[in-house]
């Protein structure tokens, strides 16, 4: 089963839920940190580094001896990543999406493709948990291919947890596609509710069963709960606004390790996920 942990709003506790859930499942679980702009799970599960692979996207390489400057590549490219002004085309690598179109349309076969590095995928082992994380290079704007590279390491035979980036745009979609259940983490505040609504719309669009974790219960009001009731969305777990949780988090400690009284919370979460997934979710 693939469980994706997401949230409309950042900083609601996605990583807290992901890493503690991984620890609760224990040995054999895969944890994929798909927040490639800010991968954080490794801060809580240090472990041992097992390997690192460079991820590239294919960008065009023009063979000037074959090019007759017809400009077809530039007319085709939607991203202005290759352009010709009556001479051999210029390539702008950071604009290229790697679709391969320019090489296909070139009538003289003058365009080959070469890899351009966008980031790395690192694998770690921490107490039987396999942690795979993507890390995008600074200044690179193209996260989805790196998210897809992280997800290529998925082993279908075990349970996998995907820690998604915040928001509802391209890299989040790339993370959620193909997962079996989505856990949306929110907090009971106006911002939390507003962003939860967006996230719910997104998950419904993707037609994946989902439920909600309400973090920092007690800080705000009950509008998130009312919303979930009206929309018939299961609340999978409530975590109280306990300053000790925030402090443990600030030091990079797992809640279930630092505060064992919360172990049962995460066990309940896991049980609820399995329950609602088999029930088809909402």
């Amino acid at each position: 089963m693939i469980i994706a942990v997401a949230s409309g709003k950042g900083g609601t506790g996605k990583t807290t839920v992901s890493v503690n859930l991984a620890r609760t499942i224990g040995s054999g679980v895969q944890l994929l940190d798909c927040d490639v702009e800010e991968p954080n799970a490794h801060l809580f599960l240090p472990g041992r580094e097992k390997g690192s692979d460079i991820v590239t996207i294919p960008i065009p390489l023009v063979d000037e001896s074959l090019c007759d400057a017809c400009g077809e590549c530039g007319r085709f490219c939607r991203y202005h990543a290759i352009v010709s002004f009556g001479s051999s085309p210029l390539v702008f690598p950071e604009l290229c999406h790697g679709c391969g179109g320019c090489a296909l349309v070139c009538p003289r076969g003058a365009i080959r493709e070469q890899g351009k590095r966008i980031g790395v995928v690192e694998t770690r082992e921490a107490d039987g948990i396999t942690l795979v994380q993507g890390r995008i290079d600074i200044g690179v704007a193209m996260a989805p291919p790196l998210v897809r590279a992280v997800k290529e390491t998925l082993n279908k035979d075990t349970t996998a947890i995907l820690d998604a980036p915040p928001g509802t745009s391209c890299p989040v979609i790339a993370t959620l596609r193909g997962s079996d259940f989505v856990v949306l983490v929110t907090e009971p505040t106006p911002f939390g509710l507003h962003d939860l609504r967006l996230a719910v719309d997104m998950v419904r669009e993707l037609a994946i069963p989902f439920g909600v974790v309400v973090n920092r219960m007690g800080v705000g009001d009950d509008r998130v709960h009312r919303f979930c009731r009206e929309q018939e969305i299961p609340v999978l777990l409530e975590l109280p606004d306990d300053r000790r949780i925030a402090e443990a988090y600030s030091r990079g400690e797992l809640v279930v390790d630092a505060l064992p009284e919360y172990a049962s919370h995460f066990a309940t979460l896991l049980w609820n996920i399995r329950e609602f997934r088999s029930a088809g979710g909402k």
Partner: protein, 120 residues
């Protein structure tokens, strides 16, 4: 010779726009017969990325050999150089003033990009 000026208007009195890729438009002045035409750059302004490249395509399509602007990012600089467009910088307030400075030979050519590109 045709000179492209970056501007937010469409006459010689219009204020200069310091940007190139995301300039509102261009006034393209033809020195052979002292006429000009206004070219809209909305398409480039609205593009996600590669505005400087698209803007270069636009002025080249209108036959410009020179560009007079305030600043120019790295992608636009590469594209303009490849297209054989000479780049001049100015801080003149209007197109007419910039044209006067250009005609007097008072403008410096740009040898490299002077601002960070991307979405600025």
């Amino acid at each position: 010779m045709k000179i492209a000026f970056t501007t937010s208007g469409n006459t010689l009195d219009a204020p200069m726009d310091g940007r190139f890729g995301r300039a509102a438009g261009f006034v393209i002045y033809d020195t052979d017969n002292d006429t000009f035409e206004a070219v809209d750059n909305r398409q480039s302004v609205n593009t996600a990325q590669g505005a400087g490249i698209q803007a270069t395509e636009a002025i080249v399509r209108h036959g410009a050999n020179c560009l007079v602007t305030g600043h120019c990012g790295p992608n636009a600089f590469r594209a303009l150089s490849a297209a054989g467009v000479r780049i001049y910088t100015t801080s003149a307030a209007t197109v007419a003033e910039a044209l006067e400075a250009f005609s007097a030979g008072a403008l410096a050519t740009m040898k490299s990009a002077d601002v960070e590109g991307h979405w600025s």
